[in-house]
Structures are given as C-alpha cells and as structure tokens.
C-alpha cells in the first residue's frame, strides 16, 4: 500500500506545485479567548511580520523586545503589522498574558495552544519569523534570532 502512497506523492510533485507561499487556514486564539482564523491576519492590507515564540524561549523574547523598542520609529518608515504567535501549551500558556502585558508589546499576540499553526507552517524550531506581503504571499523567513538580524527584516519590509 505504501507504494501507492508514494506514487500519489510523485504525481503531486510532477504536476507542478509551488512551495509554501500562502498562509494555511488554522484556528488561533486571542489573549481574550476569542477564536480567529489565521487568514484574518491579512485583513489590514499591509505586510505582516509573523513571529513564533514561547515564554521559555529567550531569543524569541529578545527579538520581540527589539520590535517593541523600535516600533514607533519603524512604523514611521514603513507600514506593517506584527503578530507574535505563542506556541506555549497548557503547561505555560497561563504566563503568556502576563508576559505580553508586562512587556507592553504594541503588536498582536495570539495563542497556538496545540501547535496546529506551527505544524501547518512546518515550523520545527523557534524563533521562526515570516514576512507576509499584503497580497498574502510569504516573502521571507528565517530561523533563530541573533542581535542585528532585525535589520534585514526592516530592509525587506521597505522593499515591499
């Protein structure tokens, strides 16, 4: 039976498909408990910076803090929205609201409690950041955060 499955996959590959360029539709939760679709992140009609993070990931928090510190300045240079998707599960999700409130992050924070969105985008390691154009296409992604790498994100946003 496996050979039929492999055959099916090969059929897909040779039929002309594109790599992941669009956001999959997955249900996420707001910090208030509302349920929204990942597709609604594109409703503002501006590029979106999407960052997967968790309360136990220090580089993730450093990256999000840099965006907070530069938020006002960068918004004057280029219009974009930002969504920080927490992949904290039932163990640590209770800390997410307090984390975001205390750090006064000016962007949207969403919860992906069973990592459905993370899996749909094939994110294996966090932090992982995406830039999604106003047309909904993924134009850039990188894994990990090292100080200074946010500059490239800003350059790409300016080029869109």
């Amino acid at each position: 039976m496996k050979k039929y499955l492999l055959l099916g996959l090969i059929c897909l590959l040779i039929s002309g498909v594109s790599a992941q360029t669009q956001l999959p539709a997955v249900q996420l939760h707001t910090l208030k408990g509302e349920t929204i679709s990942s597709r609604s992140l594109l409703n503002d009609g501006v590029p979106v910076v999407l960052s997967f993070w968790s309360t136990i990931c220090k580089p993730c928090i450093e990256e999000l803090n840099v965006f907070r510190d530069q938020w006002t300045k960068w918004q004057k240079e280029v219009r974009f929205s930002m969504v920080a998707v927490s992949v904290d599960d039932a163990r640590s999700v209770a800390r997410v609201r307090g984390f975001a409130a205390a750090r006064e992050w000016p962007f949207t924070v969403l919860l992906d409690k069973n990592q459905d969105f993370k899996r749909a985008l094939n994110v294996n390691t966090i932090p992982q950041l995406y830039i999604i154009g106003a047309d909904g296409k993924i134009v850039y992604s990188h894994i990990g955060y090292t100080p200074g790498s946010e500059k490239k994100v800003l350059d790409i946003l300016k080029g869109l």
């Binding site: 349920t35 599960d89 100080p147």
Partner: protein, 525 residues
C-alpha cells in the same frame, strides 16, 4: 481501516493532482529534520558507546493544499533511535497521513490528526520530537461551527503508540458556546464547553474490568477588562489499570487560573488538583507516547541549565498545588528603572500529595505531608547601555526524587545565574553566562559557564561547561556552532551530556549520559 484511510488520502491527492493540471497550481510545503549523534566511549564518565556508535532520528513531512482540500504525510526513520528515547521507535515508515476538507464553518479529516480537548486534562494528541512522543489519532474527525457561536466536533480512531497503533479505540467530542457573543456582552469574552472521551480496550478475563473508560470535563473562561478567569473540572470513570496500581478507582481533576494584567504588569495564579487522572492509551503502563491525556508539571521552565537539573514530574494519581507568576516592568525614566527600565519576573510554585488515602478517600484540595516540589525564583533584566544587556536570576528549589520513582526525600538547592550580552558591532555580539548551584544534597555543588559568539543573521558558536564539584568532579563540556539560512538551520555540537530528566512541552524523560558528536538539521519549504 488502515488501507481505507490510505486510499482516502490517495483519492483526495489524486483528485487534487488532476485539478491542478487542468486549472491551477496547488501548494506543496514540507519540512525535513534530522537529529543524529555519533557516540563515543568515555572512560572518565563510565560511558560505553553502543555497538553501532550512532543514533539518528529523521522526519520528513509533506503537506499539499489546493483550495479547501489538503493532504499530507510524515515519514520517520530511526537509524536507530537516539539513546534514551523509547527503543520501540525503530526502523522507518509513513507514520502520519491525512486528507482533509475545510470550509468556513465545516471541516472533515480522514487519516491521522492531532487535537486537544480543553486544557488536555482528559485528552491531548500531539507531537514532541525531542522526547520521541507522538500520540496522533488515526481515524476520522468532524467539526462544525454555527455562526462562530456554537462549535461542535467529534472524532473516533486509534492512538499511535510508537511505530504502531495502541490496542484501543478512542472516541471523543466537544461542544463549546461563545457566551459573550450570544449575550452581546461588549466588555467581556466568555466561553463554556463540555468535552467527553471514551477509551475502549477489549477484555475477556474474569476480573471486574469494564472495557470502557469515560472521561468528561467542563471548561469555562471569562475575561473582563484586566481580569481573566479560566477553569476546568474533569471526571474519569473507574479505570482498572497498571498506572492506577490496579485499583478500580475513578478520578477527577480541577484546574483554576486567575489573571490580572495591565500595561507594565502581568500576573497569574494557577491551582491544580489531580486524583487518579492518569489515562493511558491502554490499561498498561503510561509514560512517554502512552498517554491519552496531558498532565504537565505546572512550573516555570528555566533557561539556565542548573535550575533545570531536577525538574518536577507530575504525580497524576494524587497531587495538589499551584503556581504564581508575576511580571513587572520598572518604568524607564524612573528612579529604579533608569534609562531603559527593568523587567522583573517573580515565579513560585509548589506541589504536594493530596491529604487522605485511596481507601478512605482524598480531601478536595488540602495538601498532605509529602512535598513533591517547590520553586521560588526571581529574574531581572537590566540594559546597561545600548550595547550591553544583562540578566540576573536566583532560584530556591526543593525537589523530591519520589516523583521519578526514587526514595522520599528532599533535595534543596540555591541557584544564582547571570548573563551579559555585549553587542560588538551591528551584526556581532558576545554572550557570557555564569551559573552556580549550592546544595548539601545529592550531588551537591555545581558551577557552569558559557561563552557564545553570534554573527548576525546566520552564525553562532559557543563553548561551555557544567561542572559538578560537590560529588562526582565531572565536567560536562560542550562546544558547538550553528548556521541558519532562510528556513534552514544546521547545528553541530560535541560534548558530554549528563544523565537526568529532559523535559519538552511539559513532559519529562529520563536520559542516560552520553559523549558524542551531535548533528541537527532542520529545513522547511
């Protein structure tokens, strides 16, 4: 059943393929991940490498989407499985395959799927590769949303158990209502839901064992202005199983969470009580890859290694306790906050057994005399200048080795740690980390240090050592680096790892010590 599901996947895939060639392109995405170790003999640490010297866990995942249809597979190869992970993960195979249709208010999935009911107290199917855990259910799942006010879902199937399927059938479902929208409450959000799960394991013996175990839970969440409340109560019917010490006893759990959050301040208080709430995929033992539900240790997961030497492991049969978490940002420009402000984090958690016993019954929340765990910790961040960022951390912990099956005692420790990151240029930074743990128990004192150089955006290298000078005089050194490019990251590490619990996603696994060369590569497209 299996053949039918694969056929369904194939049918949808082929339908999609046909459609692509006629009208439009679909979207193919996927990922590849390998985590491989070349093991070495290490006479100093008494470590003997396995005969074939290697361990390699590999995952290849493909997802195909075309409009409202999607299908995908995951191939896993253990060549062989990394030491310490379940040895029942062996050889290779297509372990995950699915086809689904998703409309704006309706979805159906045939094949493998992950899901969670409530907070996972009665059911969670998920994947945690770091500890070799995957409890995906193979079967069918349906979900329907009525105007986003009422959501209902149901599923039936068999849980994965390593490279095979558990000898049980699982059926479950939930009904949730958006109360705030239904009542048009403007300042609040409120949701209520009921969840149910049934596990059937055939039994033909003479004991009074019911082949069906039911678990129910009720969840409620409410947010108004700065306040938030969340609660779940769960009940499990009598479950005569190995993990409940063959007591034909029912179980229950309560989880309460209260939060108050305003700009610059965040807090949450979580309380949880568990009584015989372990629920396995069968009546055998539970543990990594054999749990139907999810009972994580509700404690803070620290980033400093010495504070994670002895993490708590949930006692699902009887445990009560809670966690308090406070985050506060001392404003910049204030007397204490200085030019950049000071983020502070205070966290405390403690867990005990439940007062009472299985014969006479347990109290609802009152703790007994056995302390399982306590952790009081504080962390602060201070930016000295635009290029220098520091962290300071202290933790006072008590760990009872009883939670990992050893004797009832308490290991007390004090851990002090800090790090300093110095940005040399726009794209280069150095990080220094120092840690020390004081203890009079078990392996007594430890010290650790680490230096890390990063060149943005792609390259990082580090060298570090954890040294036990209180008992074993053993060094656990590590040297490594990583390179990231777009959605690909490759890392190489050489060193000695200590034996102990590793925890991922709230579940812990006891790992043996090893010395070796570790290659990790992850890539997605």
């Amino acid at each position: 059943m299996k053949q039918a599901i694969i056929l369904t996947c194939l049918t949808v895939a082929i339908i999609c393929t046909g459609t692509i060639s006629i009208s439009a392109q679909g979207n193919l995405s996927g990922s590849f991940e390998t985590n491989s170790v070349y093991y070495l003999n290490d006479s100093r640490a008494g470590i003997i490498a396995p005969d074939d010297k290697t361990g390699s866990n590999n995952y290849f995942k493909l997802d195909y989407r075309y409009k409202k249809f999607s299908a995908g597979v995951q191939y896993e190869a253990y060549l062989p499985v990394l030491q310490g992970l379940p040895s029942t993960l062996r050889n290779s195979g297509l372990t995950f395959k699915y086809a689904s249709f998703q409309d704006s208010n309706f979805s159906v999935t045939a094949g493998d799927f992950y899901d969670q009911l409530g907070n996972g107290l009665i059911f969670r199917a998920y994947e945690e590769r770091a500890i070799g855990l995957n409890t995906a259910v193979e079967g069918v799942r349906l979900a329907y949303s009525f105007r986003n006010l009422v959501n209902v879902k149901g599923f039936a199937g068999r849980s994965r158990e390593f490279m095979d399927r558990a000898a049980s059938n699982v059926k479950g479902g939930s009904l949730s209502v958006d109360i705030a929208s239904a009542l048009r409450l403007e300042r609040s959000t409120a949701n209520a839901a009921i969840h149910i799960i049934n596990r059937y394991v055939a039994y033909a013996g003479q004991e009074p064992i019911d082949p069906n175990v039911q678990a129910y839970s009720f969840t409620m969440d409410w947010t108004i202005d700065a306040f938030s409340f969340q609660g779940e109560y769960a009940y499990k019917s009598r479950d005569n199983s190995t993990y409940s010490n063959n007591r034909n006893k029912d179980g229950s759990a309560l989880l309460l969470e209260i939060g108050y959050n305003t700009p610059g301040f965040g807090s949450s208080l979580t309380l949880r009580r568990l009584e015989y709430m372990q629920l396995g995929t069968t009546r055998g033992i539970t543990g990594i890859g054999r749990d139907l539900n999810y009972l994580p240790a509700l404690t803070k997961q620290h980033s400093y290694s010495l504070a994670m030497l002895n993490p708590h492991n949930t006692m699902g049969n009887e445990e009560t306790g809670g966690q308090l978490d406070i985050q506060y940002n001392v404003k910049q420009g204030s007397l204490l906050g200085g030019k950049y402000g000071i983020p502070l984090s205070l966290n405390a958690s403690t867990y005990y057994n439940l007062q009472g016993d299985v014969v006479n019954g347990y109290s609802f929340f009152t703790p007994g005399s056995t302390k399982y765990f306590r952790d009081i910790n504080i962390e602060m961040e201070k930016r000295i200048s635009a290029s220098v960022l520091t962290h300071l951390f202290y933790a006072n912990q008590q760990f009872n080795p009883m939670v990992i099956g050893k004797e009832n005692s308490l290991y007390t420790s004090h851990t002090l740690a800090g790090d300093l990151r110095w940005q040399l240029k726009q794209a280069q930074s150095l990080r220094f980390e120092l840690q020390h743990l004081w203890s009079k128990d078990y392996q007594k004192n430890w010290a650790a240090a680490l230096v890390e150089l990063s060149a943005s955006p792609a390259f990082t290298c580090f060298i570090g050592d954890m040294y036990n000078y209180g008992d074993t005089n053993m060094h656990y050194y590590k040297l490594g680096g990583s390179y990231s490019f777009s959605r690909t990251r490759v890392g190489l590490t050489y060193g000695r790892s200590r034996e102990g619990l590793i925890c991922a996603g709230g579940v812990c696994l006891y790992m043996p010590a090893y010395t070796g060369l570790n290659l990790s590569l992850t890539s997605s497209f």
